[in-house]
Each structure stands twice: as structure tokens, then as C-alpha cells.
Symmetry: C2
Subunit: 417 residues, 2 copies
């Protein structure tokens, strides 16, 4: 089975909105071993949308369409589906009931605009929407499957999980198995990683591997195809072991792992408490850690000490040290980490200070200069980093380097290169 | 001039990476009045890539290709360009010089893998890369323009800004002018916004308008096409005034404005200081505020008071209040805001407490329950919100509601609805 994903919406085409829907659907279909032949984005124009339905069905068996099902006048997808399948709209009682319930729960009045969303193409199986008012449709015709879902990611995801994926699973007959594994590294550049792995063809033995760099590190994606799932899994785990033997200390996780998630698990398993003092990253490290459900089990508190007063009053950094070395210095990073550990009674204190840019740098302390401090009951150390000139990328890189120092401390991995 | 954007890379197709490049390029081309006919994503496979070059050039005059120019074996784009244009690779001295300089600056040794990146298609104008090692290419043939750039967003963006956009501007002859304006609202659902605007056709007088909802609010995109730029601008500003008359209090900005940016400007202009106490959002509000360059001018400090101990010790919340009403309560939100204002000597204190989920809720205090407190020298108030059941969306919504309370305080807009 081959799939084509169509995203409808000018906002995607002109770059106002990121196409997260195509990414989510692509990932899920890949998980079902469905090959994605192409992804396309087209404007909210009837003629173009219908032409794209024709294009997609000429080279794919499954066409997944998102967007343009909303209640306002600029949504054209339903109209296009009616024309393309030469069908008509009928009011669906189940959907009308869902919409009424949705409005009642929120204490709002049902408008005609919203009631109109209960009109669905006659030949469609309805995909109900528990998170919004627009239903989705599943339409089979001439051995092609068309799935229509709203563009709101939160609603589309629920429909994929509860309806579309289970129904697709019934439709699939498997022949070859593809297994994909992603090893997530940080703290080493792409070309250095590549060179350390040595002869890549020998390592892979016919498998495929891609290097995907970002400000958070380099993802190594390994793809193995085999006759059975077991064979594929065995081969991929062999390759993984070889890679880990060469660059294992830089690998913090696999696939959907996040550095903050990996750290949270270690901290909770060991019953350790963390506190964080952020200057330049301004809350990003704490925000990443608290994205993890259960973070309250290990994160005691955080201080965003932007001003020098906050550093001195809340975290007991010495005023002399700030005067002598500056707020962006190895010494202040160390004292911030010590301070936040002491005031909170936590097991570990982590701290960053630096210049994120675009302004605020000078010749001695350029934009991109960062110091990260970390303390546990045994040691208290700090390290210098030099990043680039983009504020948001620098915040990302600094948060990643700080979390990686924490990971290395927890695992007892020493610095090298 | 019509454009087609091609993104090459399995990682996009299978949903591991978001297609931010197509969004960025789409936005820039729209700004140049170039219509985007379609965007597509294809896998790292030679045959498919070349086929897509053919497809794109059949319906567009400008084809922008990103991805697959890296130093590793899985990058096929350069090979495809050589075949498609029937040309050959030659070593480019300028590019080789750039690569050598890049490595010297970082104190690293030039490897053969990297030196190979100085080989470029003979017929290409080279687009130099000051942020990485892979050069881009600009190739014109049979009245079609092909632009090739690396997939790393940071490198691609620099090439667009410094080379591609200026060169495209030279190529464009303008006939009709399109002006797009986006009004950014928050705190009101899409259907309610739509209904409050009344007769939309009458309001728009032939202009186009789209409603784009997200967890941060609803964006209203207005598009006007006219013979001159002035006519288009006048018409769009008329429409904007009519919309503001009806729903102005919900509109925090336009186009690339962010709520945090709008707030930062007001705070800095008035010389006010802010401090923030976050419980459930765990640093997200502070992170958003510190994404703004110059945030150190108004943001005094922040406390992420996850534990009750931190709330009591650092922010002087009364233990009795926590015992009587619970940490997630109107009273604690108010005391957190009061506390962070008092310890920092700031003009305004902002605080949030709530249950983000997926766990931690109960019948009386369900997941999604949030209290936001805000204090200045005159008043100290708190408000209850009920959001959904998704942790990360709840963090986004809570941060947006808190920042919007701050905006309304600064503008003297009272609550309503």
C-alpha cells in the first residue's frame, strides 16, 4: 500500500503555519509499514484541490487529506469531496448530537454556523470528533481509500489514533518488514561523528543510515528491511551495538526519547532532587524538564536570575565575584549551581550564565559565550562553551549542553575529545 | 512568476522532522509577490528526485530545492542536479577557501569528506555558505530557475536572505499587488469571533479572509489584491479598522508580533519591571519572555516554585493558605503574584498554578484547572481557567492566558464575556 498526504491550506503554503500534520501522519503510516510516495500542500482553491485528488489517486492507494473542514467560509474541502465523489450532503444525527453535547459542556449556544457541520457527504463513513465540532470522513471508491480530517492537530491526532490507524491495520497485508531506529547523539559535530564511525558500508552491511543534524545534536537514522520482523530487529540491534562501541558516550537515547525525558527517568529512579538556576536561558531548561509528566517528583525548584540582584539575594552569589569576574564567568556559574543546590536542599544544582545575543557581547566576552556549572555532594565544576550568534539557537544549544552535563554526571561519563 | 518548493529527505516524509524550510521559503516568496503553486516532499532517492524536478519545472518558473547537500553518503541532491542538467562536477576555489576557513576557525582538521564539498556542478552559480560547509547552487536553464540549498535551516536562511531574495527581486516585474495582513487574537474561540464580526462578505468587500486557530488564539489573515500597492494598503487598513471596532480587545498584534514581544515593548517603554512565579508552566512563561532580545531590561527575576517548600520559602505564600485551599487555588495564585512582586521590588508580579496533566487531577480539581494571579501597585487579582487534558497544550494555553492578563492590565482592558 502506498500513501499520499495532502495538506490543504494557504497558511501552510505561504509559511505561516508549519506542516506538523503531514509529519505526524507520515510517522504513523511509516509505523504501519505503509510507504509514503509523496506529501503535497495545495491552496484553499476548489479547482486545485480536486486536481490534486486526481494526481494523488493516480499514484497511491491511500490518500489522507487534512484541513479545510472548519465552520468558516474559507474552508473548501467538504465541497471538493462532494464534487469529486459526485455525491451530496446529508445531516448526520450522530454528528449533530456530538456538536450539541460539545456546546452544552462549554455552556455555549449552538449557532447555525456550527450546526451546518453536521452535514456530511452521503457516501462517507463518519469519523467522530470528541475534541472539536468538525467530523472527519472515510470514503472508499474504486479500490482507493480517501481519509478527510480537520486541520487542527489536536483533533486530527485523536481521529488517527482512534479510527484511522485501527481501520488501516485491518487493510494491510505484510510482505517485507522495515524497522527504523534512531540513535540520538549530542555534543559532537556531524562530520566528526561520521569519521569516528569508520567504514560506513562495512558497518551497515546493506542497511541504510542517515545523519540528521540540528542544534540539539545529530540523529542517526538506521533503516533495515528484511523478510521477517525478527530478522530485521536482530540486524538493527547488531548495527546499534557497533555504533555504540564507537560513539556510545555521545548517545543519550533512541527514537522518541528526549534528553530531558532520559534525565527525568534517571533522577526519579534514583530518588534524586534537582534545582536549576538559569540566567541566559531564561527558563528554557526548566520548561523542558517540566514538559515531562512527573517532573514534580524530582524538580524541587528553579530560579531565573536575570538580574545581578536576584543572583545575590536568592542564590547567594558573592557580589565580589560578580565584580571581579563578571556575571558571565566560570566562577559565577559555579556559585549559581552551588547556591541553588544549597537553598533548596537538592542533591544536584545546575546553572547557566552566558550571552545569547544579538546584543550584549564585547571583544572579551562575545555573543555565544556560555558557562555551565553543576554541583552534587562530591564535586562542583563549571565549563566554558562557545556557540553562535543567533539568540534562540543559542538558548537551545545552551539548554542542551547543560542537560547533557547533567546526564554525564549521572552516568559518570568524563569529558573528552 | 510561479514557484514550486521541493524538500528532499526521508526524515520529513516519515515525520521525524518538521518541514520548517518550506514554511520559511513560502513566506519569503509570498513577500516577493511570487505565487506558490505547490510544495512537495520526496524521499532521498535519485530517480524520484529527478522525476520531481521534471514535474515542478512543468508547472513553475522557479524551483527551490532544499536538502541532501550534506557531506555524508545519504545525500543525493548534487548527484541528481548533475544528471538532470547533464553537467559535471568541478572543484570551486572560493568554496574550498570557505571550507578551509570554517575548519580553521573551529580548530578542527579538514577531512576528505569535507573537502569533497567544494565540488560543484559546472553550470551553477555558487551560493556561498558562511554558516556551514555545503555551498548552494543557482542554475538557470530553458527560462527556468533552479535554486539548491542545504537542508540545515540556519544555513538555508542565510543563503535566502543574502543571495536568493536579492537575485529574485531583480527578476520580478510587478503587475498586481497583493497585501496580506494577519490580525492576532487570543482569549476568544473561532466561532465566537466569526459570529461577532457579523456579515463577513459585507465586511470584506471582495477581499479574502481566513481564520487560523491554534492553542495560542485565532489568527485572522486578510488578503487584498489591487492594481497599486497604495490601493491595496488603504483597503486592508479600512478592513482592519472595522474588525478592530468589533473585536479589538482580543487583538494583541499583527503579523510577526508575538504576545511576549508586544508586552516587552510596553514594559520597556514605560520603564516597568516584571517578576514571574510559575508553578504548573514550569518556566515556559519566563522562557517566552526571554526569547525577546532586551528582556533583561524589564524582567527582574523568575521563580519556578514547583514544590510547596519553594512557594513558602522563596515567595512567602502562607502555609495555612496552602493547607486550607490547596496549592492549586485562587488564593495561592494571588499570594504567589504578591510574593514575587514583593521579594523582587518589581512593579508587577505575575503567577500561575494549576494541574497540567495527564496525571494529578481529581474530581474537585480536574486536569486543566488553572489559576492566574497578577498584582501591580493598585490591585491584586486572580482568575480561574479550565483548559483541556493535554499537558503541553495546557502549558501553552496557560502561558498565553497569563501573558494576556498582563497585556490587559497594561492596557487597562477589563474582563468581559
Amino acid at each position: 500500500m502506498k500513501a499520499h498526504i495532502i495538506t490543504i491550506g494557504d497558511e501552510i503554503l505561504i509559511g505561516q503555519t508549519l506542516n506538523t500534520n503531514a509529519a505526524f501522519i507520515g510517522e504513523k503510516l511509516t509505523g504501519l509499514q505503509i510507504k509514503i510516495s509523496s506529501t503535497s500542500v495545495v491552496p484553499d482553491e476548489e479547482e486545485t484541490v480536486i486536481e490534486e485528488f486526481n494526481n494523488a489517486s493516480s499514484n497511491s492507494d491511500l490518500i489522507i487529506v487534512t484541513g479545510g473542514l472548519g465552520p468558516t467560509h474559507d474552508d473548501v474541502t467538504r465541497k471538493c469531496a462532494v464534487k469529486y465523489f459526485n455525491t451530496e450532503l446529508i445531516e448526520n444525527d450522530e454528528v449533530l448530537g456530538d456538536i450539541k453535547k460539545y456546546f452544552e459542556a462549554r455552556g455555549r449556544v449552538l449557532t447555525d454556523t456550527n450546526r451546518g457541520q453536521a452535514l456530511v457527504p452521503k457516501i462517507a463513513a463518519v469519523i467522530r470528533n470528541s475534541r472539536g465540532t468538525a467530523p472527519g470522513y472515510w470514503i472508499e471508491k474504486n479500490k482507493k481509500i480517501f481519509v478527510f480530517m480537520p486541520g487542527v492537530p489536536y483533533e486530527m491526532k485523536m481521529m488517527m489514533e482512534n479510527f484511522v490507524i485501527p481501520r488501516l491495520e485491518e487493510n494491510i497485508k505484510r510482505k517485507t518488514f522495515t524497522v527504523i531506529d534512531n540513535l540520538l547523539s549530542t555534543g559532537i559535530p556531524e562530520s566528526m561523528l561520521f569519521d569516528r564511525l569508520g567504514n560506513i558500508e562495512e558497518l551497515l552491511q546493506g542497511a541504510k543510515m542517515a545523519f540528521l543534524p540540528s542544534q540539539f545534536g545529530v540523529k542517526m537514522r538506521i533503516t533495515v528491511e528484511s523478510e521477517t520482523e525478527d530478522l530485521a530487529k536482530n540486524k538493527i540491534s547488531e548495527i546499534e551495538q557497533k555504533i555504540r562501541a564507537k560513539v556510545g558516550r555521545f548517545i543519550f537515547g533512541k527514537n522518541d526519547d528526549t534528553l530531558e525525558g532520559v534525565i527525568a527517568k534517571m533522577m526519579i529512579d534514583r530518588g534524586l532532587k534537582l534545582s536549576v538556576a538559569e540566567s541566559c536561558t531564561g527558563g528554557l531548561i526548566l520548561n523542558r524538564l517540566t514538559n515531562i509528566n512527573g517532573s514534580s517528583k524530582f524538580l524541587e525548584r528553579g530560579v531565573v536570575a536575570y538580574s545581578n540582584a536576584a543572583k545575590v539575594e536568592l542564590l547567594h552569589v558573592s557580589e565580589d565575584t560578580i565584580q571581579k569576574y563578571g556575571a558571565v564567568s566560570l566562577e559565577v556559574a559555579r556559585q549559581l549551581a552551588e547556591g541553588v543546590k544549597a537553598i533548596s536542599g537538592s542533591d544536584i544544582g545546575l546553572a547557566v550564565t552566558g550571552i545569547m545575543g544579538p546584543t550584549g557581547g564585547n571583544e572579551n566576552k562575545p555573543v555565544g559565550l556560555v558557562y555551565i556549572g553543576i554541583c552534587d555532594s562530591n564535586i562542583c565544576s563549571a565549563k566554558e562553551f562557545r556557540f553562535g550568534d543567533d539568540r534562540l539557537l543559542n538558548k537551545d544549544r545552551t539548554s542542551q549542553a547543560a542537560l547533557d552535563m547533567l546526564r554525564r554526571l549521572l552516568l559518570g561519563i568524563s569529558d573528552e575529545d
